[in-house]
Amino acid sequence: MVFNTGSALLDAIVLAIVSKDEEGTYGYKITQEVRTVIELSESTLYPVLRRLQKDECLEVYDKEHAGRNRRYYKITEKGCAMLKMYYTEWHSYSKKVTYLFEEGRIHG
């Protein structure tokens, strides 16, 4: 992608992905899903998840899977509120940028 993804946007994307699953989801799956939207190296995601967990936007729990414990991430109430705020911000921001582009001379 030609555009940089700031830490706020990455937080928002991660929160959105985790919030999709009521049961929560796990690190590998989150990475794969984030990658459908933006380029991301795995080394970037873990610190983000850890920080969101410390900020109480995500909570973790372990669940048995294929004979071992897998760590699941689940969105908290605070995380939901955060996601909502990000969504509002993004909505108005992207609308303004889109409007500007459409006004610009891109129609040839």
Partner: protein, 235 residues
């Protein structure tokens, strides 16, 4: 390097962070390898680059999260990461203070404002003049309208009286026509009285109201300016 070596090296590299953090991170990456599956192990190892890079990112994340405690508070969304925020805070002194309550900002702002006002004089002087003229014109137009209503009322009374003078003698010569004309005269006088009353009431009410409004506007501008000057005097 295989998965086991990778994790062992990572563990060693994370030797200087709290045990909780180290265990968390190692668990995460173990999970990651497991979930990716044995068949993807080499791809994952390539993607993860090196234990050094992972360790570096984890440590950077720890420093960041320490710094960013309380960043996302009720004041809302800053739009920037902690690093950028620090940068802004460093380049703009007292960027959190508002107005001229602090010595530094007060001076900086007043000087800036004066320079701005002087530089912008070619723009704001004509604009201010234009606005003032427009205000004056609109007020005058309103007054004129009200005045016209009152004058029309008086005119109606006069015309009605003349019609009455013509009509009343007519009753005796041509009763039907005379009564009609007299009636018209009375009607005109009635309309005239109503218009005059309306005009007078408007003049009595509207004129002081408009004058009050103008006085308030001027007062507001002056008080704002003097408040601003007071702020300057205090520093």
């Amino acid at each position: 390097m295989d998965k086991q070596q990778f994790l062992a090296e990572l563990k060693q590299l994370l030797g200087d962070i709290p045990a909780v953090e180290r265990d968390e991170a190692l668990e995460y990456y173990e999970d990651y390898f497991e979930d990716a599956g044995v068949e993807n192990e080499s791809t994952i190892l390539k993607e993860l680059e090196s234990p050094e890079k992972i360790a570096f990112m984890i440590k950077a994340g720890l420093r960041d999260s320490d710094k960013s405690i309380g960043e996302f508070t009720e004041t809302g969304f800053s739009g920037y990461g902690p690093a950028y925020k620090d940068e802004v805070a460093n380049t703009i002194p007292n960027s959190d203070d508002r107005g001229f309550t602090t010595r530094r900002d007060g001076k900086g702002m007043s000087l800036l404002l004066i320079i701005l006002l002087v530089l912008a004089a070619p723009i704001w002087v004509p604009v201010a003049f234009g606005l003032l003229a427009a205000l004056f014109g609109i007020s005058l137009a309103v007054f004129a309208w009200i005045f016209a209503i009152a004058i029309a009322g008086i005119g109606c009374i006069v015309v009605g009286a003349i019609i009455l003078i013509v009509g009343v003698p007519g009753i005796f010569t041509l009763p039907a026509g005379g009564i009609l004309i007299t009636g018209l005269g009375l009607l005109t006088i009635g309309i005239g009285i109503l218009l005059t009353m309306a005009g007078t009431a408007l003049i009595l009410k509207a004129v002081p109201a408009v004058l009050k409004l103008i006085a308030k506007l001027i007062g507001a501008v002056i008080s704002k300016f003097s408040l601003y000057r007071k702020g300057r005097v205090e520093v």
